[in-house]
Symmetry: none
Subunit: 220 residues, 4 copies
């Protein structure tokens, strides 16, 4: 019985798929390129996956598995948002350095539309949205975080910053944009430090405490 496709080969195919999807987008990625680059024939792809859509879903699932593993690992070590944040930033920086194609593929996914967009969003963002909202609610109850915030929206802002960070490490357009803002690619440690400061203040200080007063009130 010919078992040519070892788990390693299958892994390689999926990683190649992620790479090509990341580069070309879901629609424009040629199955032939994936096959060629993975060193197999197109027939192999269609033996293991019903069609392009199915293959893409498998690539996504493969990637999400490792990303969710990362998320769970970080979560298991910390339970307070701000402590957790530092670990998370570092983990994302390292994931971005190791698997930039995965992040690029997620970014390609964000251009989908219609029902597919809704399904993909819930598959990709479901876990983190629930986690962040929970951590923030807990922090607010315990008094560790500010009270004058809506946890959902603040979780949304929080994830916006982290998602953009990843994209900025991996996607050409966002990379160029970050360099534009920072005058070159900033050090990982500088990003970590500054983003933590940004987040700490945003999540801990209530509006009434804002000190300088000069930017308050006149908008009402």
């Amino acid at each position: 019985m010919l078992k040519k496709l070892s788990p390693e080969k299958l892994e390689e195919i999926l990683e190649t798929g992620i790479e090509i999807f990341a580069e070309n987008g879901l629609h424009a990625a040629p199955m032939a390129s994936i096959a060629r680059q993975a060193g197999v024939s197109v027939g192999v792809l269609y033996k293991y996956y019903a069609n392009k859509e199915d293959f893409f879903r498998s690539c996504l699932r493969h990637s999400l598995d490792s990303l969710e593993g990362l998320l769970r690992e970080v979560t298991s070590k910390e339970d307070k948002l701000l402590n957790y944040s530092r670990q998370l930033i570092r983990a994302l920086q390292s994931f971005s350095a190791l698997h930039p194609s995965h992040i690029r593929m997620y970014h390609q996914i964000t251009v989908s539309s219609g029902e597919a967009a809704r399904l993909l969003a819930s598959e990709i963002e479901g876990l983190s949205s629930r986690l962040y909202t929970r951590l923030i609610s807990q922090g607010r109850e315990s008094g560790a975080l500010r009270r004058d915030m809506e946890p959902g929206l603040f979780a949304f802002f929080f994830d916006n910053l982290l998602m953009m960070l990843q994209f900025s490490y991996c996607c050409d357009y966002y990379k160029a944009r970050m360099e534009l803002y920072c005058g070159g690619m900033p050090e990982d440690s500088a990003v970590e430090e500054q983003l933590l400061r940004f987040l700490e203040s945003a999540f801990t200080f209530e509006r009434s405490l804002v000190p300088h007063g000069d930017s308050r009130g006149e908008n009402r």
Copy 2:
């Protein structure tokens, strides 16, 4: 570029292009659809524009003109970051409601790669990156904003939040994601209020002032 097209027709062609590019992406948008929907022949498109790429650049330029107009208008009225922020948020909310296709087209652009990505980023983000960095530097000098920040990175975070907000109003995937975080589409006013609180705190409170202490130090 010859000039036989009336300015109105030209405007219509470009707006149609933006719509179709926004919907389909740069690669998948059919020139024939654009021509048909704009009520001209494909021949006209290829008479005035060398090719699809060239036409796309013109659509982008057309859109940037109106977006930069908006930015300049808001800027002319305010010069302090936090006052400015409220105006900007409102302006972006209204722009997103009026011209969602423009925002979607910008989003489509973010998937480009290589040298094109760098050029597009600098064309689209150049103005705001310089503006935000300047406003933040000034605020830091004047004492209105915190001193322990790098203006470039904080400007980057600031724009990340605003860009994601626009995408979340206009692009299917991000729309679904925002609903996931907020349990439904939030009111414009709630978004405005919460994002302002988030930004105010992030930009004004220095780390040493962080009140509860419980999120410091215990990181190992």
Copy 3:
């Protein structure tokens, strides 16, 4: 305005389609062959027809139009089944000689299955089934034809013979089969004469009149 596709060219495309469908079958006929043989590009086919299925339907309709024209013409001249039969046989012989591909395409259609088969059958056979059944019923009422028959089944036998005749003139397999039975391709006139004798007797003599008695009765 480029009007390259004259009605003549369109006709040529449809005739070529009929030819290729007749030769290869619906599924196996390559659109590229049709285009090449008709002297156009595949793009033309897909500009005028939504897809292969649609193109095939148009070929069928084109053919049915001429066949139904023929049927109506013969019908208009005669209203008694047996007079009508001679005209019909001659018409089918001449149609088979002029347009063998059409007949071969009908034959290819008979291998379709499922709902498609039902629809095609009703489209192709609807007219003649109604016509034959009506003629036979009328003949039975008037006393010109035997009374001890069910018009539907006799119409069915009648059409079976005519359909097989056409196929036997045009389709390789049936041609070979007819030669097997007749020891070579029979003259048109012999086929006409013999088939008319066959039909006349079948449609006019009632069972009770069967003369020789030796094949009667003992089967009951």
Copy 4:
């Protein structure tokens, strides 16, 4: 042909082949489906049969063996055409009910063309054409059947009716067509009775005896 396959397995493979060829046609039947459904590997098929064509020929031969057995059995019991007809109709009705795939495969064969068509026709129709022609000739000599007929053509008409009957019981298109003519699927017994009446009259009454005269002469 090597012989390691048990006769039962061989039978199963051939029957499966017949089924798949019947359903999909010669061209579109996937060898892999046949192997899977028969519970063997494709390798086995290609070990015992040189290629698809060769395998198909074996399926046909297998089917012809049983059909010819049937024909011989009926023939051995009767020697007069009209007595024989009733037995034959019943036998074909029962064969159609038991082995519709075989009939469908024969039908699929009728779309073949070129030299293959000639060979297949002679293989499939040789026996019955010789048998029918002989029976009819004998009947004509003995006076049991009409004299004014050419045995070959009448045998041809006779077989046309029987072949169409089988196809009408088994093939979707012809089934739909028969329902169109009869307003629903007729009872086996009605078909038997009516077809016998049709055949009896066709084969026994000479033209000169045609009673009503109204369908004679006026054809110019």
